[in-house]
Structures are given as C-alpha cells and as structure tokens.
Amino acid sequence: MSTSTSATSAAAAKSPGPVGVGDRLRLWWNQLSRPAQWGVGLPIILLIAAMPVIRPPLLTTPDTDFGAVMAQFGMYALLAIGLNVVVGSAGLLDLGYVGFYAVGAYTVGLLTSPDSPWNKTGADGFLSDKWAWLAVLPVAVAVTAISGLILGSPTLRLRGDYLAIVTLGFGEIVRLLADNLENTTGGGQGLSGIAYPRVGVTEANPFGIFSIGNTAEPFNSGLWWFWLSIVLIIVVLMFVGNLERSRVGRAWVAIREDEDAAEIMGVPTFKFKLWAFVIGASIGGLSGALYAGQVQFVVPTNFNVINSVLFLCAVVLGGQGNKLGVILGAFIIVYLPNRFLGIGDYKYLIFGLALMIMMVFRPQGLIPVRQKLLAYGRKIWQAAGRRSREEQS
C-alpha cells in the first residue's frame, strides 16, 4: 500500500522549480564525503591564514596593521560563532553578550596582571610566566560558563523582548561591576601587563612573538594572534558542528522554530536553552581571554552596549544560524571600517542602516541558514543526488 502513495507523491515531486546556484553548490557540498570536504576546505583556510603575510596591495589596511586587524577579526569571528549558538540556533536574543566577553577578559586579567590582588603569576604565584596565559585560558572559559549559568537559570523562562532587555541589563551590570570594584579590577584604570604566551623568545624579541613589542615586518604579534585565533576557530567550529549534528542541535532549532511544539515533542526546552547559554558564554569567554592576551591591557570602557550590538550585527548580517555566514559577518564588521578609513566616523550609522535594510529585504542574512542536523545526513543527500543524476542522464 505504501508504494502506491509514494509513487503519487514522487510524481508530485516533479513540479518544476527554478534551482538557484546556491542550492546546486550546497547540494554538491553536502554530497562530498568528510575527507573530501576537508580536502576542499583546508587550502582555503591556509590561503586566509597567509593573507597578512602576502599583504596583497588591495586588501592591506592603510594606517592600521593588517595583522592586528585580522587578529581582531579572529576574535570577533569567535564571538560571532558563540553568539550564533544563542541567537542563530536557539533563537534567544542576547543583547548582553559583551558581558561574557568581559568576564573572560577580566578573568585572565585578574589572575595574571600585576595590578590585581588575585595575581597568581610572578613571585608568589604558582603560574609560570611562560605558560600563565595558556593555564588561565580554561579557567576563563569555566568562569564564563558559570556566569552563563547564573544569568541563564533565572531569565530563561522569559521570552523574546523580555529576555533581550534582561540580558542587556546583565551586560551593563558586568561592565559597571568592573568599573566600580576599583580595588580589585582597577576600575577605570584597568589592568595592564596581562600575561601572554611567552613563546619564541629570541634576542630580537626578548618578550616572545606574542608580545605586543614584537613588530617584526609581516610576522608581528598581530599575525601570530591571528593564527592562534584561526586554530581556536577551527576547534570551536568542530565542537559546535558536533553539537549541531546531534540531538542537541535539533533541539535548539526546534526551540527556535516553535518552542511549544518542541516541548510537546519531548524536548526539555529549559535544559537545552540553558545549555545554549552556557556554550555561547564559554565561547565568548574564550574570545575575551584571547583579547586580554593580545592587548595585554583591559579597561571597562570598551565592553559597552555598543559592542554587544556590533556582535549582533555580525550574526544578523552574516546569516543567523549559519556558522560560516556569521564569520563573514564578523569580517564585514571589523575589516570594512579599517579598510575604508573614510567611514571610520560613520561606522555605527552604516551598521545601523545595514541592520534596518537587511531586516526588510533579507532577514535571513547574506548566507541563509542551511544547517544539517543529522550525523548520518550525508547518506540521505547522496541518495537524493544519485537518483536525480540517473533521471537527468
């Protein structure tokens, strides 16, 4: 009996629909086996990594160091991936994401800066100067994850607009805490001399390749931080990919699509929303630790609401729910103002306008969401592809 129905539905499937280039490309990509995908992906990643070394004339940013700009791009990309888990996958609008970025940066700052009372490096501290930053990195991620839990558990019963305002409040509270608790966080004076990986110490670079002082032509500290951020991005992308192609990813997208239907289909929505917050927070904390290591100086002023909105801009412009899309969004947010200095002043005006126009004409962003939520999904795509090839040939 079932074959008859499938025949009728297969006939119905023949309805001619225009096939976009994007879809053809995506179908081709979905059918590639895992190693083949890496084969295509790796050269592209290496090319991007080599950009600041080759410094192509058109791309290099005048006035600001191309390596340092790409390092900032790496950090914003990490943030965008983290925020994408919260906003893109689970559909929870978080306007206070800079709070997690600040918690990550300040955790590293408090544990390794000579200005802070809790400094664990130097004479009495147990952290060796060389690996202090790397040792503190997991602590920063853990502390941010806990802060995600603290913010998430009371507020995740709220929805949509309410959640947005409460998270905005949280971001402001974190910044004001860093500002007001002067004796610990140095308040307005910030924390300086934060640890960074002391690697590759040569007499030319007495403080190592990652120190701010390393300004040797292409291979300066900005470039090394950019490569480090690429490594972290790849690792985080794999982890988030694992989550997406599993029960967790499906739960998140179900919550985004229709929370009540998801609840009725057996998805413990509160638990998974909380997990989305915690994972988003820890990725934000990771990026904060990266920032503290690169700038080696942390001050509350640049963890304000405007940055929160800039991160949201990156996710929305890139394409909510699409990991690669949000990375493209982060690139636009960081690179364009540096590349075309003329718009330096008008940065926020342009981003504001871009947001408004995007929301009207292309709410799904530049690269719309095409997440694959099944670990073995490839088999299905291949099956789909083969049948159509037989028909066409």
């Binding site: 629909g17 599993s246 729910g321 073995y376 299905i380 099956a383």
Partner: protein, 346 residues
C-alpha cells in the same frame, strides 16, 4: 459555556482558532507568540521564500536502506516496541469522574471512560463540548479539579509537557505545527530524540551512545516516513511539503516518540474524500502495528468508518459511549448534534 480559551493573535487565518488548548498554568510560561497578526487587508507574504528544489531531492530509498523497499519490514521497524504493562484490550487510559472547573465554569462534569489498549477510540461532540479540555486533562496538561486519571496503570501527576510525551502519550495538532526550516527527516528525528538520552557533553565528544542514537534516528526516521508514505520527500523542507504530506509528517513525528497512545486532533481537517480514505487506511495501519489511537474528529463519516468505540461529550458531560452503530442511532447524540424538534420539548 465555551471553553475558557483566550483568542490567539498568532494565527493570521480568520475565524475562531482553538489554539491554546494546552494553555498550561505553569508560572510564567504563559504561551507567548510573536505578534504576527498581519493586517487583515494585506496578503500574507511568506518570508524569504527559497525556490523548492524538490525534483532534485527525491530520495532513492533502496539506496539508503534496502529494507525500506519492503512494506512488511518497514511496519516491523516502526511497530510499537515499548513494553506496556496493560494487556491488549485492557484499559490503557482510565478517566474516573474527572471534573474540571475554571473559576465558576464547569468545563468537564465527572467524565468517566476508558481507552483500551489496541483500539481506535473516537471522541466526538459539538463545538465547545469540552473535547479539548478533556484531552488536556487526560494528557496531564491540566490538573483535574476532582477525579483521577491513570495511564498504563500509573496515576498521572502534574507533568511538564515533555515528560508527558516521554511517559508515552503523543499527539498531533489541529493546525499544523511543524518545524518549517527543518527537513522532513529532521522533524521526525526530533520526535525520536524524545527517547534518546545523549547528553550535551556526550554529543560534544561523540560518545558511542551518540552514534547509536543517531543511527537509530536515521533508520527509524526513514522507516516512519516510508510508513506514512512520504519517504521520497525526506530531504524536503517541512514548509515546502504539500498540505497532505505535512499532515502525514506530523503523524510520523508523533509516532517517532514511540508512544503507547497516539492522539490525533482533527487530522482530516481540509482533506478531500480520497485523502480522507487514505488517512483511514493509515490510521488502521497504525493500530494494526500495535498502537492505541484516540481520534478527535468532527467528520462523522471518518469517525464511523475507522473507530472501534466512540465517546460523545456535550456540555462537559459524557452523554454516550459504545460502538459506532449504536451511537449513530442513540437519540441523545442525535439531539446533541441536530437539536431536538420543537414539538418534542415538553
């Protein structure tokens, strides 16, 4: 005495929409849906529509899993494996004089009936008879003011909705609520996840249980899609499917949670006669596969044709219960539906 349901802004279609039937009383989780009510006078424009690429993606089932070609094997894979304590024919769900009061309003008045395991029970009644309230009381969304509900021999406490589904009661919706952006197979996979126990760290580091459960999700998902007859459209987006297929997908998704009791809420709404007969075949096939089905429906021909027993509600009271043929001739039921001729009212 209409159900105390608050009007729903969310659904742009006209007319009284009985949407918030599971309007739960949990603190603070009052259902909130984005204010999407579009202007009545403007056409509703679908958001960012992508061209359907259906003909490229019809799935060659034998390629995925040879067993999918043979309906008997499919039925086996899909059959209810959950060990149920109650014997076939015994009362799976027992409602003992359940009364439901909202403030002064009596929505259900000491309703008592059973749903026996393995049967298809019809629940009918004129609009506003309390079918939905009864449905919600039965599935634990509402706590009955008095009386008791037992499912599979265990009294139903006050459960969260996802716990109810895990307990073994699955349901479909009157107005289709699929996950639009997800493909058909992914929708069903969400259903299978109700029974899975992979934790987030487990998924992060891909522990063996994760692989097992993913494999299970794929196999059972495809089997279910084939079982309800839309195996070909596995990679099609839910919102791109035709209406009939979306209904079938919803049933497949409900079956994916391996329920003991499947509740269909007016599944035939908007079907033409040929689709209705196909639906009747599907419901019987589900019952033959070992599931107990509760059918809430207005279409008498469909109800009379497929159900084993029928319960009739009117004004919150049970006015009749029994075989379809008796119900058709039962005077109380006729009066409830067609009204009493003038001279008869003494």
């Amino acid at each position: 005495m209409s159900e105390r349901d608050r009007p729903d802004h969310e659904n742009p279609e006209f007319g009284q929409v009985e949407r918030s039937e599971w309007d739960s009383e949990e603190a603070g989780t009052g259902r909130y849906e984005a204010q999407q009510a579009s202007d009545a006078d403007e056409a509703v424009v679908e958001l960012g529509e992508f061209p359907p690429i259906s003909e490229l993606e019809s799935v060659d089932l034998s390629d995925v899993d040879p067993a999918l070609g043979d309906p008997k094997l499919v039925a086996e894979m899909v059959a209810a494996q959950r060990e149920t304590h109650v014997e076939v024919g015994e009362a799976l769900m027992q409602m003992r004089d359940v009364t439901m009061k909202f403030g002064g309003l009596v929505a259900l008045d000491s309703v008592t009936f059973d749903i026996r395991r393995g049967e298809i029970l019809g629940l009918i009644g004129p609009n506003g008879a309390g079918k939905t309230t009864c449905f919600n009381a039965m599935t634990g969304v509402y706590r009955p003011t008095s009386g008791s509900v037992a499912f599979d021999g265990v009294p139903l406490g006050r459960l969260k909705r996802n716990q109810i589904t895990r307990r073994g009661i699955a349901r479909t919706f009157q107005n289709i609520r699929l996950f639009g952006e997800m493909t058909a197979l992914e929708n069903v996979a969400v259903g299978t996840d109700a029974r899975h126990r992979t934790s987030v760290p487990g998924a992060l580091f891909r522990v063996p249980r994760h692989w097992r459960e993913e494999q299970d999700a794929l196999e059972r998902g495809m089997a279910l899609l084939e079982f309800v007859g839309i195996g070909q459209r596995a990679t099609e987006k839910a919102r791109n499917l035709p209406y009939g297929d979306q209904r079938r997908l919803e049933i497949a998704r409900a079956l994916a949670t391996e329920p003991k009791l499947l509740c269909l809420d007016e599944p035939a709404a908007g079907f033409n006669p040929s689709e209705k007969s196909a639906l009747m075949d599907l419901i019987r096939k589900i019952r033959d596969d070992g599931y107990t089905v509760l059918l809430i429906e207005h279409d008498m021909r469909l109800v009379m044709g497929v159900t084993d027993r029928i319960v009739v509600l009117e004004f919150g009271k049970k006015i009749a219960e029994g075989l379809p043929v008796d119900i058709r001739n039962n005077p109380a039921v006729i009066a409830a539906y067609l009204g009493v001729p003038d001279d008869a009212t003494a």
